[in-house]
Amino acid sequence: MTPDIGTVKVPKYYQEEITKEAQTLGKFEASYQWSDHKGVTPGSSLWWTLIALYTNFAWGSQLPCYRSGSATAQPPSGDAFKQGSLDAGEKRLKNFYVPFLDGLNVSGLLLDPTMKPLAWSVNTNKINKTHHAETALILAWLQGNPKKQSFEGYTFISPWRPCCMCSAWIADVFRGCKVVWFIDDPGLPLRHLDFKVNKTEEIFLPDMFNKMELASVVKRDYPWFGELGAATYWNYNANYIDKLRELVGGTQEKIGPVELFKSEKYFDRLTRSWESTRHLSSELLQTLTKAGQLKSYVNNIWALRRCILAFDESVVV
């Protein structure tokens, strides 16, 4: 299925922004078509590098979507919206962000076996408390795809480790898929994904660095994978709470994901993550170009960015 996302209404200034990106990245015309990554062997170095890039995108894509409905929370200090660093499309939405910004948004991204994006979502649990990003994505997916039963080879990117409810949905609906994450949550009980129900498996992204030839570049360009990932991975981190406190700063007695969400460091990294989807380093550019994957990657990122700025909760393509 190839949706005509060219019909999505996007303001002219945002299209100009996209064209500028095209010139910066690859000097080719945007096709506005969802693209697959044919020829990339699952599990290869290139595969994991691309998964890391999409994970970076999925995490950063929370940024323009702070619309979970909280009317009380305030943006953290050092708010990127005030720094003029965001593109025109984001500025367009500025009026929506501020009243709703609560720092509790999480996003999810479903990729097919060729890493073509199939669905994207963001947490809107201030509107419906079950609408964590993962569950919202699955409910949206089910409306158009009620029969599909096997998701072997599919990748569900959930930057925050899925909770009990979302784990259950993923294991029930996206049977056999791999769930990639990098930020842990100290409040999680035992979940269906802990037991690989329906052969659905979780993968901690930083564990995959050793599979990437460009691991040092990925670590350098996307330092939050290590910084937020390793520090919050409590399965082998006995000092999780101490590490989290260092990351969050301040003197709060209680520390957890909410404090991390609302910390300045988190927001700073998130902003850099969103920005970094538009600028690949020369090493990554060279590698993706050589492998013939740059165009697919850029097309998908453009398409996703356009959809995200045009839709509210979830996108199923």
Partner: protein
Amino acid sequence: MARVKQELEAVFKTQGKSLFPTVVCKYNGKTVTCISHGYVDPKGKSEYLAAFGDTIPSLSVLLNLHSQKGGGIELGDIKDADDENCYIAVCGYPPTISDFGMAYRNNMRFVLDLAKGEFWRVNQNTPDTPNERVALLEEEKAKGHKILDAEWEAGGKDFPWYRTICTEFLGSRSS
């Protein structure tokens, strides 16, 4: 309990089991109150958001509707939910994995399957520290527990609401 019986009858007998009926109840330690019920149209024209494959998680979709804020049918959050202060789900079909996930999110401690006369305790195992969670996980793995044992503990305790509901609707089959 009379109202529960009435509500359940309306759903399970009038609508029929083929519609995968579900009832959401609240238990306060003494009485069970029926809060709502739902079912899925067998032709697939469901009033709910989701139906898939050969399982129709009507509890999940019912809870999804109950979780929508501002619609006037939201399930109130129960502070410090426990065995005697909680929501209970009654299903006319074997509950799905997603049903358990949604039940957890909505302060349910128990899910009943009236089709089989069984019930599960919804896992409330939320440790305070990461090390506790690691220990628990290792412990469960060491026992070789499968998900239904570890995550959703099958019931054995004689809860008064369970006996009442099952006796009223299933007679000697589940007593």
